[in-house]
Subunit: 309 residues, 2 copies
């Protein structure tokens, strides 16, 4: 849109919060009804999407970073641009991932379970992150930020992404088809890939068997990327050092599930992107994308509907 | 010592481990008896120091980073150079400090105590490190490395050291006498100062009262720097976010001590510098200092006997 043209009308669902309205306006848009709008900021789940979507809507912003529920419901068509919040939460989720990994390698999971001074026990479970090879599976916005943080902490990050396009800060980046090659040199694993049919159970019994007895596995992506039964078995057998998980399969993890009592396991209940933070980050992303839409610049977080992420 | 002179004789206690002998030799020294030596690598505690120390000993290397037990026993004279291992353990201890702080701010201490999916509870205890002001009290080798790690993670480090000499990476460095000024702008605190009469209870009830209900306190230095009773009271009252401690007062913390059951508290039993790591780091420091001694260069970790650290 060139200078002097009218501001584009952007639709928000009825009852959208003030911060969303403010973000649209700050980005240079005018909030208006769906039937007159050229874009929609959607803040609900897949079932709340307008059906049918008016043809005038050229762009829809979705609220989450993971969009597999929309893909599964075939809710995304190719008649307009869809954007997710991918990358908007990268800083907070990456920080959480590194916090989980550090809690594992520094013996905090063991220490937190003690109510007496068990120095020998905790020391035996304490290593360090510095100098270790950490494989980051999935190197989108979150994975890239994880790799930056790991490199700054003196770890040696290995990246794995779909096509093997080099990730800054990683010692090496491998394409997903060569994932098998990384395990022999891996000390720890962080799972950060999108949930697709290709990534389901990407960490399975055979991968777990190739890790070290000191290896920690962190998952801040989706529970389905790890074979939960195989993980519980590996933890019980001491095949790996431990698991620190922000996401689980099933999720929410039901009371009494074996993961709750597996040794060397820390579970945060999908809180890597806590609600208070999510709102501020999404507001910033909406403002940013509305600005880009107004200016005709490429949007952030464009979904590849065919690829499913 | 100039080229061509004989290698200096360095004494080791009887029964010193092979790695210590190897480190002395790698540094260019010859291991020999105390009476013929010009330096001593001391690996034991204060009670194992040779009494009297032969006048020929011009340098003594001590094994620890904190040397308050030697100061208290008046075991260090000013007739020779004494060095501690200060700084040799900076990387591992700094990593532990950041791990403890992240465990606090990311809700891991709360999450680790749950055996069910308490998303709302854990999210309410989850903030982030990025963008927060972290005051690092004591900016020797460990403090400096902590500040590097914090800056890389996007936190805003404030440094406090004896004279206020600027620390790289800190937004500001204050001298100890201006410590009072930092609390109003502090989100979290890491205690990393040496234990001296001046630093005893540097974190007391009045400091705790000025922190925020979300502030975490990390101690990786010495337990005596925090008033334990005041800390327990602040934790119980919810005056601060929590405490993550690698050192305590008393230490070891006895069974049943109120800190074990204080809310939002994580204790690692003085494992920031785990034994396996300590040996490798001390060997590297001994080699390095022997090289410096041979070459007549300034030694690392020289103790200021009058200042007490």
């Amino acid at each position: 849109m060139s200078m002097g043209e009218a501001k584009p009308v952007i639709a928000l669902a009825d009852g959208a919060p003030d911060w969303a309205r403010a973000a649209v306006q700050a980005g240079g848009g005018v909030v208006g009804p769906l039937t007159e709008a050229s874009a929609l900021i959607h803040l609900g789940g897949v079932s709340a999407l307008p059906q049918p979507m008016p043809d005038g809507i050229r762009w829809v912003q979705l609220p989450g970073a993971g969009i597999e529920s929309y893909i599964k419901a075939r809710a995304l068509d190719e008649r307009r641009v869809w954007t997710s919040a991918a990358g908007a939460y990268a800083d907070t989720v990456a920080e959480h991932a590194v916090a989980l990994l550090l809690a594992g390698v520094r013996g905090l999971v063991t220490a937190g379970a003690q109510r007496s001074w068990q120095r020998e026990l905790v020391a035996s479970r304490t290593t360090g992150l510095r100098g270790t090879v950490v494989t980051v599976v999935g190197a989108g916005g979150i994975g890239r930020r994880i790799i930056e943080l790991l490199a700054a902490a003196g770890a040696v990050p290995l990246a794995v992404n779909r096509r093997g396009r080099p990730v800054p800060g990683a010692r090496e980046t491998l394409p997903a088809e060569r994932l098998d090659e990384v395990w022999a040199q891996t000390d720890h694993v962080i799972v950060g890939a999108p949930a697709t049919p290709d990534t389901r159970h990407i960490i399975d019994a055979s991968v777990l068997a190739r890790l070290k007895p000191t290896s920690w596995i962190v998952n801040i992506a989706r529970g389905s990327l790890i074979d939960t039964d195989a993980l519980v078995a590996a933890l019980r057998a001491g095949e790996i050092g431990g698991a620190a998980l922000d996401v689980t399969d099933p999720e929410p993890l039901p009371d009494g599930h074996p993961l709750w009592s597996a040794p060397n396991t820390l579970i945060t209940p999908h809180t890597a992107n806590p609600p208070a933070h999510q709102q501020a980050a999404l507001a910033a992303r909406v403002k940013d994308n509305v600005e880009r839409f107004v200016a005709g610049h490429p949007l952030l977080g464009v979904i590849d509907v065919a690829a499913g992420y």
